[in-house]
């Protein structure tokens, strides 16, 4: 216990530093090609809806 706690502390510090200390809900992707160059630009990007029931 004397040293295991120190290891836990280091583990937490490391995971926090590298951003692994959370359980995020996000998905990451890229804006589909052509959206920027299309008329209206991003404001007319209507595709890609993932939510709803």
């Amino acid at each position: 216990m004397k040293y295991a706690g120190g290891l836990m502390l280091l583990l937490y510090a490391g995971l926090h530093t590298f951003g692994y200390d959370r359980f995020p809900d996000d998905d990451r992707g890229r804006l589909p090609q052509g959206v920027r160059s299309a008329p209206g630009g991003i404001l007319l990007w209507h595709s890609g809806f993932m939510g709803g029931k």
Binding site: R28, G29, R30, G51
Partner: protein, 639 residues
Amino acid sequence: MSVGSCPSCRAPVEFALGGGKVKVCAYCNTVVVRGKVNLETLGKVADLVDTESPLKVGLSGKWKNKPFTVQGRLQKSRGDAVWDEWFLVFDDERTAWLTESEGEWRLLFPVPDFPPRGFPAFKSFVPLSGFGLGGNTFIVEEVGTAQTASAQGQLPDYAPTHPFVDATGPKGIFASVDFGGEQPEAFVGMPQSLADLGFDKSELSPTPRKEALAEARCTNCNGMLELKAPDAAKRVACPYCGALLDVRHGKLAFLQLLDKPAHPPVIPLGAKGTLEGATWVCIAFLMRSCTVEGTDYSWDEYLLYEKAKGFRWLMCANGHWTWLTPIPAGDVDLGPRLMKYGEKSFKLFQSVNTRTDAVQGECYWEVEEGERGFASEYVAPPESLNLDQSEGEATFTLGKLLEPQVVQKAFGLKQALPRATGIAPAQENPHSAAAKEGAVWAGIWCAALLGLYVVFSALAPRGVYLDTQVGLAPTAAPGSAEAQWFSEPFEIPADVPLEVELASQVNQSWLGVQVDLVNEATDEVISVYGEPAYYSGSDSDGSWSEGSRTATVTTEEVDKGRYVLRTTASWDRYSGGYQVVVRADSPSLGLPCFLMLLLVAWPSFRALRASSFETQRWNDSVIQSRLPPVKKFGKGSTP
């Protein structure tokens, strides 16, 4: 010095100055008392019994540089036992009594202005009752009545019987209250060694008992007994034939034939062993037992003797060895369930009615086969406080567990001692120390983790980057382009994880919102989905509700930069709109909590094992009521 004539034989009777008012005529044993005018007689006393005491009337000594003279000797008897009490007169006219019990000498001074008003009568005293004297509280160890067997020399007074109460106070102070006279008298003092009393060694009489008994033979089987403590022995049980012999006046007298022990002693009688810094001789072996719910439980006891330190006991129960040292009752804070000795509190573990099943060797009390007693054990592992009670007597011993190997090595036993089974009452819990240490370290590291979390939280960026209300057109279809909304570009000033909060006045419905965060510089899209949903109603159990009108979702760290937020809503019932808030997320408490759980898991496991050990220990706890005494028994200080 004043001189008179014995009223009985007319022999000269000399009274020393400053001494007592009673003198025993050296010629006719008449007890002469100085009256107001003449010498008067109080009758005659029997001849002195040879108690093999090294002292004699007329000896001079010095205690704490104060010279004194032994002026008188009072011989008292109780049952078969006869002992001496020596009357000392100091040069400064103080008086004192010197008594001997179990090889221990006590110098006792009279308590002035005794008895105080309201001091209890003799009948009020029982063993373990308490009384105050000179600012100290004394605990009664023995209550009894002694007879005056004989007397010699000059004495302060004379009484044929002496109802007495012996008690101990804190730090070994001894008190004796004598109810023999018109008024009770109290004497208080401390144990002394003969060396402390400054006697001239050449004047001390040799103890013939030692010479007579050292090579005594059993009067029943003629076996060689080789007594190890002939000065202190009152009973000897022959190891060859089982005869119980009474030791009186340097001779052995057959009393009865005892049953042989069910098994021989593991430590042979006469074996020498070094324990607690002294070399002890095993002088007696006793088998004792108690009956609990119809089952007999037995244990062995070994009486050890060392000339300077006196007696100790080694007890063996289920292979667990306990070293028992007598302690004064006055040093114990008494309680029915809890007793305190020194700084430790001892909890009552068992109280049982005991009997002595077998005896071998020599004992300092008048042991008898089948003796009954009442023994209580209070525990504070690894120590125990043991109280042995008999009619009129109570004695305490402090117990300390010894490993069998320690006993084996101390006495040089060739055969390994049997392994201990079960849990001894005062056995130290092997898990509690680890559990306590683990709990302390878990606490320290949990605090450190929390501290680190607080530091990370304090250093984390803060701020609300977007907070807006989004309206939905009544005609918009769920999930359609009309249900989409785009924000104005906004700045996220640092690399930071985000928290997106969605709130809507949904009722008996849900509103799902897809949130897409587009980095204008990199075209990275970070998508999250949140769904406020709220339902309520009532049934036979009453009203209920479920869900929440607010939903919060988080992202991993996002790069700093300009972002546009697109939301796409979907619903099962139109709710008018919703609020979107995008802010910096604080560090999550989930990971440190998870790590803290891991940290407390091990000490919790050890604590469970410690608790299980204690449960097992206390399952064997027995509390019996004390049966009426049948025969005298005790390890205590019968004079």
